[in-house]
Symmetry: C2
Subunit: 249 residues, 2 copies
């Protein structure tokens, strides 16, 4: 079993996410995809369309994690400032990429659409960046260093991630098993702490649910070692049997 | 018109949000509620159930914004470490709050439920904190300094926010108007930049939509000044008429 650990941070960029105008859909998708691939998402920051905020977040996360993924702000309008901000974070010039200009120019020409300066903005990236392709849009995302810059439109973000993920180094997958528990956290709390202490090779999470009347709990056991998960889940189930015996219906 | 500006940051706490196990529902709700109330949400961080990560995020945001709101990690289980982390961020002892103990104790006694050490964890908070009440659960959230610590369960988070928000200082509301535009961003990009430059008392955001075949754009004009919004929206509509005339169907 590989013990290599690969980590990631995400920066979701956009005023609309902070004003409530748009509900983000990329964070949960990235979390799902990275977990499955064996990359551990450690932190997400949602920042406004402000250069300083983007630079700070990207620089904080890129030195700390194996990869940083960003969403949003790479379109053709004046509020799309991600390429400039990422360039500044790396202290690189932001310029029109020759290959991206050629690709975009050819497509617009074939559709008889003028290749305006606004449209050319979509070819801007830090000098030396490589492209992130996707099957939906001709405009590429880009990778510079360990930072992967992708679109905010969910279908395009997803398509870029589909292209990118198989090309990244991944680590040992964190597996998980969920035990649905009919009792509230107050009932299982002490037993669960004992089980966590007895199974330090797992991380046991406890997630309360409330249906408006009753509490229940999802107990999630996570580990890179599937046998360790099985041992801890067995202990959780034994605890639940014990509670049921103490609390006959 | 009040020109006072009140800002906020949010820290959403929980491994489950980063593993994809749970889709966060509190961020978008908080964004909506704050925008309506006249508090500008400037940044959100999602962090794992790790003390250092929580401390760092809370300390970074509480010095920067008027308020910080947190969600998650205040229940009775071993992985609920938010009260300890917030205490450490403020360099205060984390201890059982007398009033919270009394409230919780009374409820458990009335239901004939043992008031275990796990359940008593829900009364822990930094010394000097005040309670955030809610109509769903007896266990309170708490406020220390400008940091408001709330539950992760969405119905309880919402109930705590309902109680808290009318008690906070708010600022000038940022209003917005949305123009649904049938053209892609490439078509409106240059005109929109001119309009933004001519209307610096507004912030004009452009949000691309893609239905799998065609692009369209939501143009959102925001400002604390509603008349400024009307002037910019008028300019946007004039631009759209011009584009339509240049592109007869």
């Amino acid at each position: 079993m590989s013990e290599k650990i690969v980590t990631a941070g995400m920066v979701a960029i956009g005023d609309e996410l902070l004003s409530g105008k748009t509900k983000d859909r990329n964070i949960a998708h990235l979390a799902d995809m990275l977990t499955t691939a064996g990359i551990e998402l450690k932190e997400v920051r949602i920042v406004a369309d402000e250069t300083d905020a983007i630079v700070e977040a990207v620089n904080a996360l890129r030195t700390r994690y194996s990869y940083v993924f960003t969403s949003g702000g790479i379109g053709p309008t004046h509020d799309d400032i991600t390429a400039d901000a990422i360039s500044r974070a790396f202290d690189l010039p932001c310029e029109h990429d020759r290959e991206a200009l050629d690709m975009l120019g050819a497509v617009f020409q074939s559709r008889n659409i003028e290749f305006t300066d606004a449209r050319k903005r979509m070819a801007r990236m830090p000098r030396g960046a490589s492209h992130i392709r996707n099957r939906v849009s001709v405009a590429p995302g880009f990778t510079i260093g360990n930072v992967h810059v992708m679109a905010g439109v969910p279908s395009i973000f997803q398509a870029m991630l589909d292209w990118l993920l198989p090309r990244l180094e991944t680590g040992a997958i964190i597996h998980s098993e969920t035990v649905d528990c009919p009792y509230g956290e107050g009932t299982v709390g002490e037993g669960l702490e004992d089980i966590q202490n007895a199974h330090p090779d797992t991380v046991i999470g406890s997630y309360p649910k409330f249906d408006g009347k009753n509490y229940s709990t999802q107990i999630v056991v996570r580990s890179r070692d599937t046998q360790a998960i099985q041992r801890a889940v067995k202990a959780v189930n034994a605890m639940l049997v014990e509670i049921a015996e103490e609390n006959p219906a």
